[in-house]
Amino acid sequence: MDGLARDPASFRDPDGAVHDDGIQVLRTLSERSAHDWARLRDTQFFRAALEEGRLVATEEASAETVPSSVSDGWALTLRHERLPFVSYPYEWTFSMLQDAALIHLELLSAALNEGFSMKDGSAFNVQFKGSTPIFIDLGSFEPSVGPWAGYRQFCQTLLYPLLLAAHRGIDFRPLLRGRIEGIEPDQMQRLVGFRDRLRPGVFKHVVLHAAMAGRMTERSARTKAELQEAGFGADLTAALARGLRKTVKKLVYRPPRSHWSDYHQIAIYGEDDRAAKETFVRQAVPARTGLVLDLGCNDGTYSVLIADAAEYVVAVDSDPVVVDRLYRLLRANGPANVLPLVIDLADPSPGMGWRGRERPSFCDRARPEAVLALALVHHLAIGASVPLDEVVAWLRSFDARVVAEFPLPGDPFVERLMANKPTGTHTDYTLETFERAVASRFAVRRRQALPCGSRILFELTP
């Protein structure tokens, strides 16, 4: 890449732009934004949030450290801390989205006390550093006392998905993945049931909101000015934020019984198997390994195991229930450098937004130094019917060291997956096919059968 490329997601705000070259993240500000920044920098809430790590670490970049190709035409440049891995709301669990909503509202409330508000209210303003939510869009703060311009976005990308999950048991991820702007009030109203309208917040934020949104045809800037003239001040926005926070905080997601939830209890491994697997994985991830992807992480056992050796671990599984439990455990007890995500590896997040580049696909963001694919291959090869050769080619595409586990035909879990398929299919699911595919793409550094005899571990290098 030639110098710092402008982040493809940062074109919406005319008063600022974000540039990222994979090493540093710079935010350039217009004259007006620089003026706001000078005021923001000196507020108490802002300093406190920076110190507590609720805001992305930020400093003013001195002119000589910024290439002129970046700073030309802008009044000021800020340097942000670079997050180890960027994730999106359609990859988060319920508790993650809830925490993202809460940090957003808490910062808004704190800002209002000092004459600031926010330009927007999008879930994309929040990122996770491990299991800690961080507000990243500093350009969002603006001196203002009128209505909150981000209320609609907040509803569409944070509140509505949470309400749907809590009250209807609807998986919000496909909805957020389907539309970068989230769920519109009118559509949301159709999704909630009649009884749900009586639940806290639903009538106000969904039914009333939809009724108003469908009726008003004035320009929102004019309406905002009118409301302000009629006495809509920071106290009202503060009341709105308090009400929203109360609603969001009370929401609880009661998951349907997941087929994974009791995986650990029914796993057939004996203690010997577990110990052998742990030793093998530990040896494959020596100290000071960079980014590790734990693909098909289940309850996160191996992510946590290697967290002290790796700089950062992204733990990925398709089951929202186990990943949510992992998130809450990580949040309470650490380790702090594990980011849990809900992703179906047979259908990972695509590129979204303008030209499909605004929110890059999962595969484009994943640049790991090592990959764990433990108890995963049979799910892709049999469960999702991806040919073994293709599974191995995909693992190779990460261009990283890979620890892969191959459960042999006859393994109880393989048998269970096979039982769902017509007899005679997946006859090419054999150790020979797997090893042939591996040999043509990787160097096999280690190969070890687990004591149970039906699973083989491989350490592979490109």
Binding site: P147, W148, A149, Y151, R152, C155, E184, P185, K204, H205, L208, H209, A211, M212, A213, G214, R215, M216, T217, E218, R219, S220, R222, T223, K224, E226, L227, E229, A230, G231, F232, D235, L236, T237, A239, L240, G243
Partner: protein, 59 residues
């Protein structure tokens, strides 16, 4: 026509209503002012000579 509408306006009004009684009062005030200005405009138009209406060009 959908593409020409500014969806934010209704959300602005809605947030005032959901913010509590004080917000409802603010919305009522906006409604009252709009009504009054409409009333004033009508009166001005009726006093103005005819033939000066602007055409509503749209694209």
């Amino acid at each position: 026509m959908l593409a020409y509408l500014d969806a934010g306006s209704g959300s602005m009004i809605a947030q005032a209503v959901v913010a509590g009684l004080a917000g409802v009062a603010v919305v009522a005030r906006v409604g009252w002012r709009r009504m009054m200005s409409l009333f004033r405009r009508r009166r001005l138009e009726s006093e103005r000579p005819v033939g000066h209406e602007q055409s509503d060009a749209s694209c």
